[in-house]
Every structure is written in C-alpha cells, then in structure tokens.
C-alpha cells in the first residue's frame, strides 16, 4: 500500500512539474526593453496617415528562412532621388517580433538611389513590412511573408 501511494505521489508530482515548468519558464522570460506593437509602431511612423501599398517599393526577403537569427532583407525604391523628389526615409518592420522596429533609414539626395539592405532577426513566421516616406509626404509600403523554421530571438 505504501509503495503504491508513494508511486502515485511521485507520478502526480512529476506530472505537475511537467505541466508547470514550461509555464514558469515562459513567465520568467523577461520582456525586451523596447517592446512595441505593430499598430503603434506604424502610427508613430506615419502619424495617422494611411500608407499605400505600392509597386515602386520592392522588398526582397526569403520566403522560407531556415535560421530566424539571420534573415537578409533588401528594400529598393524606384525614385529619381533629385532635390525635389527623393525618398526621405525607409522603415523596416517585422510584424510579430517583440519590438517590431528593425531600422529607420533617413536618406538624402546624395544617396543616388534609394536602397537599404541588412540582416534581421525574426522570432516566428511573420510579415516583414517596409514603409517608405517620400519627400512629398506620401507613405508607401510593401510587405512579404517569411516562414521561419527556427526562431532567432532571445
């Protein structure tokens, strides 16, 4: 009897720990210092204006990324880059990261062509979004879904 109850006790304890441990670990994982949601980040960039999807903005990213820690992205914008008509800024966002902002690039006509390339981290499969601000105050966007096999945050 004693042995049986002992085993049962162990079993329950093991089951309980198995269930509880992941939750505890998840709860203990600290949040990043600049966590910001996607909608809030877009609002901060556009100031409430609507960003229009445009074929002028080209976002190049892999459809399937094996390693989420290193995802190469390239944003190119079709623009003459003259003093009167140029691309002011390129913002790169990852929609489901803790902090969705990746980079804000402020350009000038001296750049010659509007391009930005970097490697970003993606936690899970999500959309990568580029928001481009022109010198006329317009906002253009392009996005692409990236499937991530192994997450790269943390």
């Amino acid at each position: 009897m004693q042995r049986r109850s002992f085993l049962r006790g162990v079993g329950i304890a093991a089951a309980a720990s198995a269930v509880v441990t992941p939750n505890v670990v998840m709860a203990a994982a600290p949040k990043g210092p600049n966590n910001l949601g996607f909608d809030a980040a877009v609002k901060a960039i556009t100031g409430g204006k609507k960003a229009v999807a445009s074929s002028k903005v080209k976002l190049k990213a892999p459809e399937i990324a094996e390693n989420g820690a290193v995802v190469p992205i390239t944003v190119t914008v079709d623009s003459p880059m003259t003093d009167s008509d140029y691309i002011k800024a390129i913002h790169v966002l990852a929609s489901k990261n803790g902090n969705v902002r990746c980079a804000d690039v402020m350009l000038t006509p001296a750049s010659g062509a509007a391009m930005f390339a970097a490697r970003i981290k993606l936690g899970t499969s999500q959309d990568v979004v580029a928001i481009v601000e022109t010198s006329k105050g317009e906002f253009l966007t392009a996005s692409q879904n990236v499937k991530v096999t192994i997450g790269g945050c943390g």
Binding site: A29, P30, K31, G32, P33, N34, A69, V70, V71, T74, M81, A94, N97, G98, N99, V100, R101, C102, A103, D104, V105, M106, L107, T108, A110, S111, G112, A113, A114, M115, F116, A117, A118, R119, I120, K121, G152, C153, G154
Partner: protein, 111 residues
C-alpha cells in the same frame, strides 16, 4: 571602450565620379536583445545593440539610421551613395551602452 572590428566595403571596386555605388558597413557587435540568457550561468544578458549609424562624406552626413536590437548580430548595413568626387567616407556608430566608434575610408574615383 571596447575595440570593435569594422569594415567598409564599396562595390564595384573601381568607380567614377557621379556613379552610384553600394556602400556596405560591417561591424562585429553582439546585438543582444535583452531577453536571452547565458546558458552556463542562467543570468539574463542585458540588451546591447547599435542604436545609431551615421554615414558622412567629408564631414557632411548623407544617411543616418536608427536601429534596434532586432537586427542580427554582427550586422551589415548596405546603402547606396553617389560619388561626388575625392574625399573621405566616415561611419560613426553608437550603441545603447554609450560606446561610440568610427571607421573611415578614402574615396578615390578613377576618372
């Protein structure tokens, strides 16, 4: 101030005045997110990432970037640049722990 390895690459290698070239700036930096843990000690690694990169040509800034920890470690920043003539290209970058470093490269257009 920790010394960091960095590199400025220009493509194509031979260029003329007025040509648009691709400038890549690479730096060895951990870009810690502030959520990862040291596997041996279990302690949280504090956030440590580059938050500003500025590109200068002869002292004049032509591209500035604000970046966050969501960039990969040892990041590469690539942008375009229209070569106006001879001069010096300089990249100044700062991180959230107050480190500030710079790297420069001479621009010598052929023709």
């Amino acid at each position: 101030m920790a010394k960091r390895k960095s590199l400025i690459k220009i493509k194509p290698k031979k260029y003329k005045t007025g040509e648009t070239v691709k400038v890549s700036f690479m730096v060895m930096h951990p870009m810690d997110t502030g959520t990862g843990k040291n596997k041996k000690t279990g302690k949280v690694i504090p956030a440590h990432y580059i938050n500003e990169v500025k590109f200068f040509f002869d002292g004049k800034p032509f591209t500035t970037m604000k970046t966050w920890e969501t960039l990969s470690s040892n990041p590469v920043f690539s942008i375009n640049f229209k070569v106006p003539g001879k001069g010096e290209l300089k990249v100044v970058y700062t991180d959230n722990q107050g480190e500030m470093n710079e790297k420069s490269k001479k621009i010598k257009p052929k023709g």
